[in-house]
Assembly symmetry: C2
Homo-oligomer: 427 residues x 2
Amino acid sequence: MKKSAIRGGYIISTPSNVLEDQYLIIEEDKILDITKELPEDIEDIIGGDHDIVMPGLINTHTHAAMSLFRGIADDLPLMIWLNEHIFPAEARFVDEEFVYLGSLLTAWEMVRSGTTAFCDGYFFEDQVVKAAKEIGIRAWVGEGLLDFPTPSIKDPSKAIDTVRSFINRLSNDRLVKPTIFPHSVYTCSPDLLKQAFDLAQEYDLVFQIHLSETDSEVRQIKEKFNMSPVELLDSLGCLSERTLAAHCVALSPDDINVLAKRGVSVSHNAESNMKLASGVAPVPEMLDAGINITIGTDGCASNNNLDMLGEISSVARLHKVIKKDPTVIDENTALSMATINGAKALGFDGGTLRKGAPADVVVLDGDYPNMVPVHHAVSNVVYAASGLNVKHVVIDGQIVVKDSRATTIDEEAMLKEWRRIEKRLKQ
Amino acid sequence: MKKSAIRGGYIISTPSNVLEDQYLIIEEDKILDITKELPEDIEDIIGGDHDIVMPGLINTHTHAAMSLFRGIADDLPLMIWLNEHIFPAEARFVDEEFVYLGSLLTAWEMVRSGTTAFCDGYFFEDQVVKAAKEIGIRAWVGEGLLDFPTPSIKDPSKAIDTVRSFINRLSNDRLVKPTIFPHSVYTCSPDLLKQAFDLAQEYDLVFQIHLSETDSEVRQIKEKFNMSPVELLDSLGCLSERTLAAHCVALSPDDINVLAKRGVSVSHNAESNMKLASGVAPVPEMLDAGINITIGTDGCASNNNLDMLGEISSVARLHKVIKKDPTVIDENTALSMATINGAKALGFDGGTLRKGAPADVVVLDGDYPNMVPVHHAVSNVVYAASGLNVKHVVIDGQIVVKDSRATTIDEEAMLKEWRRIEKRLKQ
């Protein structure tokens, strides 16, 4: 079988285990070895003596198609932003072509910036699947379930059946896995939430949901149910190790205990929460409680990029200043969130570079100014790097980015397509 | 005289004045025009139909040579970080060669990420001058004045004379201007501060100082002088329109009023303050008071990069979440801080693209994934861009970065030099 190698000045096996001057050997879709000596039967080598080789980044919460709304509206109060800009734009423009082209743009931006797997929730998810497979990125995809009609599911009473068909179409796909994605406790009835969770259990899937993103969500749910959003989900039996809860900003200490006890994973979306002024998630407290914290960018309309390396840096910095303690969320913790913790939340065997692991590997170009010198490779990744430092990306053993260009699509031709739809959105 | 042009899909003249599909015309060191039609006598054209052309970024607070300490120590309490890592490393390694090579690395990272001018304070500043001129970046440089011996001034009693000679050596330099840089109120006696300010007035120079960076600085000064650091400087007559105060985190409402009344400019160092957990500067309050707020990265040991585009994004996001108000520091305000406000603080005529202004211009590559689509060019600059999107940079009419490579140094040869000194630092 064909073997290839990646040369690294620094190979980050895990954040606490950095190997210097080694080769990472890939056979088919797996990591065969990490070794000082280059084996003789290697067919290709990428990477270089000063490059940093690291596990692919895992973005656990996004709405891929929304990259086409990047910068459409900023710096506005949340409800004006949503009701006067995002919802009308979605009602007007979101169709199959929009979701396909937006998701392809997102998948391109993700691989170009070192993300090798993402968890998506939006509409027309068959198109997200198509885009992800075209780029060659791993994706966990969820068709949005809501009480009311969506762009893709006009009749809410057929939502569960629609999702069941979607799941069946994806059975045994190599790169793309279905998830169940009820939007939130304020847009889904208890009955819909229960049905959704039952479906996740039936097919053994990730159950992803927006949870306690803002104080106003918590107020609204408490008024209606006399419970916090976390307590409501718990009362419905929707919290378990398969639950991936996005945002989790407005949590009480009791909420944190419940999430920890149920083994829920959290997708922390720091930059989106900052930009929308939603608040700061109590990440240090959740870590202390033993919760598996992962990192997501959220959609591009509220971020406005998909750069996980920038996101890691924001996570590590934000909580230090909030706690006035520079030891909070050290660099190893921050990088773990974006790799091994993300893998755990998705039930995926990746997130580290080790023998037998899936070959999802990112190479950062060591010849960029911001990567010199290297006193600690993990520090440079967490605090100095940008996604644009990414030189090569391997997913499932396939080189999807080489010399900072996607190998799987015609970038120039696609730029014309994205600009065509940009013109339409501006009309 | 030779004329050249920069093509832009979007030319950001000022944040509130974006021109579409134009050419920016440069003659010698000045902007001659911004025009729809390309004049006939143009010799060179750079840029492209989808690129964003913007004013060069101005970094108003850094310690350039410290890039060689990037990642040397992170995630530590401030006093352990300083006393056990930074000060010993400085005592051991900081000499003329270190400052030259560190400053050259910094100047390279800066121009590659769109910074066209910076304000520096450190030791052996003749070496910073040498590095800045070699790269071709504008620099405002200040030799550190302290009560005790520094790596470059062994006898504190000779500090003022040493700085006077430094100023005289720099008279009439085109790109590099001297400043006066007493380190802080906790490392400089009132007498030294007064002498320093007199010198700044004598030569009509910027007076830069660290001010109220932490609560502990404020406590220490109040114990000693029964005044806040701001009040102490004001009592010494050191606050005026020539004063550029870095950090300004721990300010009282009275302090803010004093800074505003005296016309002081502030260098806001958000990412460094976050990483060191110093606190969040009251920037919205300072803006309300009418203070000229600029942006600095601080040194690389506490940031750990010099990417002003990343810094702008952090500034815009941080204050929104702190104030729980997404309208705080909108994108135009954030970009103004890093351009026109920085220019004002340094007494420099740049910071905007307009007829007759200095030709300090940055071109962002519109073909990167994170720059597509362009609903609002300023939004993409502030919230989506990274310094690594920078394709071309012109400073004083000279192309110093072309196709993301510095034109003024041999990058490969210099990487060998920086790695040579990296090895020495690790011994």
